[in-house]
Symmetry: C2
Subunit: 253 residues, 2 copies
Amino acid sequence: MGTTQLESVQEPKYWHLKTVLIDALDSEFEVGEILPNERDLAARFGVARATLRQALEQLELEGRLQRRRGVGTTVAPPRMGVAVGPSANVWPGAGRDAWQTIGCAEAVAPAAVAAVLGTGADEAVHTIHRERVMQGQPVATELLYVPAASVPDLSPLLSPANHAPAVLRELHVLELEGEDRAVELGSARAEDAKHLDRLPGAPVLVVTTRYFAQGRVAAASVATYRADTCRLTFGDSGAVEVTHHQAESRQAS
Amino acid sequence: MGTTQLESVQEPKYWHLKTVLIDALDSEFEVGEILPNERDLAARFGVARATLRQALEQLELEGRLQRRRGVGTTVAPPRMGVAVGPSANVWPGAGRDAWQTIGCAEAVAPAAVAAVLGTGADEAVHTIHRERVMQGQPVATELLYVPAASVPDLSPLLSPANHAPAVLRELHVLELEGEDRAVELGSARAEDAKHLDRLPGAPVLVVTTRYFAQGRVAAASVATYRADTCRLTFGDSGAVEVTHHQAESRQAS
DNA sequence: AAGTGGTCTAGACCACATA
DNA sequence: ATGTGGTCTAGACCACTTT
């Protein structure tokens, strides 16, 4: 039998398509360049549009493509390195930390938040909504929960505009004893998706942080990062220079 | 006009389906319980199977469902908290760190790895393949890269079985000066998928770690965690007790 | 052999951005 | 008005597990 055993373990079409597209992306396209539309691409590769889309979806998940409804599909730049776990423990809102407050409210903690805080389900918490922008585009939204018990000296009469800064200021009075983080995969809620300029359900990295002071959880935050454009960095050094899938990239005109 | 404005902003069917299914999951099903098959579910909700699948896919992404070909769809237990960033910096392979070596090789570093190591593209590296198991199931695979220059005193004559332990032993001689981590979303390579008991392309959390010694990167690892079952934890305290989307869960019989 | 989830097709229409 | 990606349908067949 002189025939080489080819395609004996047949891989799915979309999987093979993905590898073909990756090669084309690395060799024939520049970052930012726009691809042919899905109908044309599907015809070119001789597959149904749904199959082509399955390949594109994974490439977008891996941060190699960016698709925008009404516009088209473009080659994505390397993911941004976003520092999440600094070496020095600091309170949120202290010392220029790249977050910008966009809202504030005081309400009863939802059950899920109460579980993280370790408080009762009916305790009042200040909820500060913040946003993180890098290189001109939003990369994360965050809900920061501060139990009222953590900021007992907060002035009760505050205009909405002064509320968030006041809560943070009171929080900084406490001595921060430690932080705790968890990262998991999620899909963007409708509201988060809007802030992040994505469609609902887009893949996101959810970072849950607990801030410890006075021997208990003094505050907690749930931050939602765009999974397609962000690489979360932890540890001593800051962002790593080069990402993994291309050594150098040039901006298309 | 006395009519309440309902469904003016029509949400996609699969999105609405998701919320319906989440409610059903929380109220009518136990962890581990098997759901009706996709064709029945689609018929019950009056949608095409592809639409139903779009909802199930997102629920699996969020760790609420587990689907296995030939078996069925089950309600997933809460995600496991997997400690990734210990407070004390330690070399891999030191002091019972939950990883188990399953292979080893010495070869030239791929370009992507060389970039992380900061070495030349043609330098020899030891590649140790390890696996992490929690609660009886594999949760991660890892490729640990150790440049030959980091372990100069390694005995050149080693049986394959002794190779990996010897490399780690030599590595532990060095003083570990710091670690560096990055987390990003990826899709499982075919080989990784096999180890993790998932299909190729399954969503994974890729943790890239750099180990610093002697003022340079003495080793680096790329670990691939199942995104559906894992919640990566960092920081002082270990795994958090309760996860976010259910306060208590009982094991089905 | 039967039943499950996974892949694939060839259409259709919708929401959105842009010219 | 046109073109893009996003949603949806009603089938078909395949790969895999279990009976």
